[in-house]
Each structure stands twice: as structure tokens, then as C-alpha cells.
Symmetry: C2
Subunit: 284 residues, 2 copies
């Protein structure tokens, strides 16, 4: 079934480390506001209720909760009236702590994704996921899920598009960065190219605020399959809901001009380097 027009919301929260209960309240309130504004797909940031800037693995573990903990319980409750995608600090069934996110829809968890590319201190605070980032069918279309730094690996979103994703979402905690005068943040350039390459919708839900000296960009963005933004936060505008109608059915049309198709024109036999184990590059 080809999806039709749906309203996508990015809930750009500013969670505060150590205040899980307040963060849960803020997330619930913003999800409901987004739904009341018509959102049918609601995206929240990475680690939306735990905060991010942990002092080390012990503190990350203290803030971790299982998939049946309070954060995913909130997402599940809200998913009865919208598809909800959001991050949480996961106490894994194997005892490890993961930087995870779920897709919840119709009161069910359709996917639990554990971030596979870990940024900075995450390498000390979390175990890396070992599974391919998922693409799941929801009543609103097929959704691919990565987290933050995963966006910097073009292989991730491209693999999702090849697997049929209409919308690729990235819950994010992007560090504040300085762009040259007059330029968009580089995060936006990456999101735009990601959408345009595969003719998919891309929704990056970033967080706002700062924690323990680490400032976040507050740069959520929703991009259409032609690569142009359809909704874009101005960095440092703080917590807000970014909302756009997205005709996800158009993401199934991969044509470019009269004779081309960005997915069918691929030459996978020529891309085998990407799936090979890394090796030292040939030296000059």
C-alpha cells in the first residue's frame, strides 16, 4: 500500500541529566502537543529522557532502563494515536548499556535499534549495537531508524533506502558547531544530500540546551526527497516542535528525469569495497 500524506513532527526537547522524571514529563507533553497539531509520526531526540553527557559508564548504567521501562512505556502509550520514534538509554538484556531507540506504533514496539556507530565518550559509556539499522513497515509508511553519528555514514541511510524506507529518521544529540557566516549547519547539508541521493524523506530530531559544558545544536530538520528542507530549526532557538506534511508516497518514486531511477540505476557489483573488511589503503 502506497502511503499518503502524513504529518511528521520532530520534538526538539532539552532534557536535563539526572532529572529523568522531569524529562519524561516534558517528552509526554511535547508528544501530545505534536499530536494535537496533527502529527501522525512523532520523532524525539537520542537519549530523550536520560540526558547525554554522562560522567562515565557507571552513570550511564544508572540512568539505563529496559525496553519495558518508563520511557518506552510512554512511547507505547502515545503510539496508540501516532507512530512514535525516540531514543532511550537502554539496560540491555545482556547486562550492557546501549544508546538505543525504538519505533512504536499501535501500542507495539516494532523495532529496538542499538546505535552501531558510537561518538566520542559513547565509546566508553555504551556497548555498540551489532545489528543492521532497521526498516519497519508502519501504518504511515516504511521507516528506517539510525541515531545521530550514523548519519555520517552514507552506507546507513542508503542501505535503508535499498530496503524500501520511505522516511529515514535520526534521533540526534548533535554538538553545537560553528558554521561559516551565512551557512547552514553541516548537519543540514548531510541530511539534504542523504534525502536527495535516495529520494527519501529524512527527519533529524535534534536536542536543544546544554549539559555540563556541552552545548547542543538544536538543529532539527525535515527534508523532502528532492533534497530541499520542508522544515528547519534555526540553531539555538531552543526547545520546539518542527512540523511538516510529508507525502511519503512520493518517496516510492525513484525516477530522476525521464530515463533514470536513483535506486534501479545502482551497480551493486561495483560497490563491493563497501562491504569488505577494512584494510590499510595502498600507499603511494
Amino acid at each position: 500500500m502506497t502511503p499518503s500524506s502524513v504529518t511528521v513532527a520532530c520534538c526538539q526537547l532539552a532534557p536535563s541529566i539526572g532529572h529523568v522524571s522531569d524529562n519524561l514529563d516534558a517528552a509526554g507533553t511535547m508528544i501530545r502537543q505534536a499530536r494535537e497539531s496533527g502529527a501522525e509520526i512523532v520523532v524525539l531526540p537520542e537519549l530523550a529522557t536520560s540526558g547525554y553527557a554522562f560522567s562515565g559508564p557507571e552513570e550511564a548504567a544508572q540512568h539505563a532502563e529496559p525496553v519495558d521501562g518508563p520511557t518506552v512505556a510512554l512511547y507505547l502509550t502515545e503510539s496508540l494515536r501516532a507512530t512514535v520514534i525516540g531514543g532511550f538509554c537502554e539496560a540491555g538484556p545482556d547486562g550492557a548499556t546501549y544508546n538505543s531507540a525504538v519505533v512504536a506504533s499501535g501500542g507495539e514496539v516494532l523495532a529496538v535499534y542499538r546505535k552501531v556507530h558510537l561518538w566520542g565518550d559513547e565509546q566508553r559509556n555504551f556497548a555498540p549495537g551489532g545489528e543492521v539499522p532497521p526498516v519497519v513497515a508502519t501504518p504511515h509508511g516504511r521507516i528506517g531508524l539510525g541515531i545521530c553519528y550514523d548519519l555520517e555514514f552514507p552506507e546507513v541511510a542508503r542501505s535503508m533506502a535499498v530496503a524500501g524506507a520511505d522516511l529515514v529518521v535520526f534521533p540526534t544529540n548533535w554538538p553545537a558547531s560553528v558554521a561559516p557566516t551565512g551557512e547552514r549547519p553541516m548537519l543540514h547539508t548531510l541530511a539534504m544530500a542523504t534525502a536527495r541521493h535516495s529520494r527519501v524523506y529524512v527527519a533529524v530530531c535534534d536536542r536543544a540546551g546544554s549539559e555540563r559544558g556541552l552545548g547542543y545544536l538544536g538543529g532539527s530538520i525535515i527534508v523532502g526527497p528532492d533534497g530541499w528542507p520542508v522544515a528547519e530549526a534555526t540553531p539555538e532557538d531552543g526547545p520546539q516542535i518542527l512540523l511538516s506534511s510529508c507525502d511519503l508516497g512520493t518517496a516510492r518514486d525513484k525516477r530522476l528525469g525521464a530515463d533514470n531511477d536513483v535506486i534501479a540505476d545502482r551497480r551493486p557489483r561495483l560497490y563491493t569495497r563497501l562491504a569488505e573488511a577494512p584494510q590499510a589503503p595502498q600507499r603511494t
Copy 2:
């Protein structure tokens, strides 16, 4: 040997179909001007001496020349004092016509590349190449070579970076396109994301002018490994030389922040979908 700072030039020509001799003269003149301005790596557009908008395969074949024809002879002569990368309409050794480009350096052809992703009428006018886009070691650093529409496949430049390219070049004939007010052409967004993803230099040498009702963008760009342009043509400014000093050695430093490396952090085992044969996506 880590390369040092080199000057890269994009010679944004406006060739005219059917005027091969004039086009050769214009290319030679502009290469020499670039060299006199200090260029050590000189890039020319796709099909730089034949023109592009052929009426069909017969006309493409009429304008085709072998690797030892006049266009590559010019590139070879000039390559005694610079590394030259440029497109030509190739009469292949197998009798087929290819949309090809070479890397020439020190009076030798180091690589002949036959475009593997064909755009629009190229599908009728040319045979597709069947080999992986090359990465070659030159005295100025390791250069990866794709052509125009290849840039729209993130697999291409990424594969080159994995194979050790410092600079990825795309001889291009990009059709004119209208961007929303205040926006860069989408070509520039793709080039910037390509550079930033793999921390490589990217040089897109586009053509200018128009032929038989087809207008070209004239949007050459050189991007540094942080994703920001170091030289950028304003579309429709016509023939020109874009020149920038590029410290190609910095493209061997793949670090991002204190703890990350955009190539070493890859998880190739999770990217196997990219090298698999295409299949119909799972339906909702």
C-alpha cells in the same frame, strides 16, 4: 608519502558540439592558463572536446576517438607539467562508444575510466562501463575518478575513500537547474556532503554554455575535507578557471574529534545490503 599542498584547477569550458578542433584549442589554452596560475592538478569537464547533446548513438560514434586520439594526446602533453584529468568521447577497443575520462600524469595515462552510471540519453548514446571507478597514485596524491551522475551514487566516492583517495574528481556536464531562492545548486550540496562524509577533497569540474536547447549549470566547485567549499563557481558565470590550494595531506587524517575516525569507525559487516543484487523492496 603524504602529499603536501597542491593547487587544483577546474577548467570550466563551454565546448560546442561538432567543433572538435576549436574545443581542443580552447581546452589546451585553458589548461596552460591554469598551469601558469600554478595549477598542479588540472580537471576538465565530461566530454570536454566532443560536446554532449548528441542526436543519437551514430553522432556520438562519429565524435568518438580512441585513447590514442587527439584529446588524450593533448592531456598527455600537458601532463608533463601537471596531473590532468579530463573527459573524452571514447571509441572503445571493443567497438563500443563510451563516456570516458582519463588521469594523465608525467606523460602517462594512469587510468581510463568508462562511466558506469549513465544519465538520460547517454543510455542510448554510450555503452556503460563495467569496471569499478579507479583510484590512482599520482605524484600529487591519490586521485579517485568518477563522472557526473556517478556523484549521485554515494557508493562511488565512498568506495574511493575506502581505497585511499585523497581527492575525488568528477568531470561533469550538469544540466542547469533552478534552486529555491538563496540556495546553492543541489550539485554543491552533494559535493559538500561527499567531502565531509569521507574527509576527502572533492573537485567537480562542470561545463558552461548550452547546446541544442540544453543549458548547463556552470557550477564547478572544490570542497575541502571538512565539507566547506574552498572555491565555487556562480552558476551561469560561463567559462572560467576555478583555482584553489588544497592540502591533500589533510585528507589522510580521518579523525573527527578526539575519539572518532570516519573511515575506521565504519561497520562493513552491517553494509552488505549495498553490494547485494537489487531486489523488490518488501511491501507494507
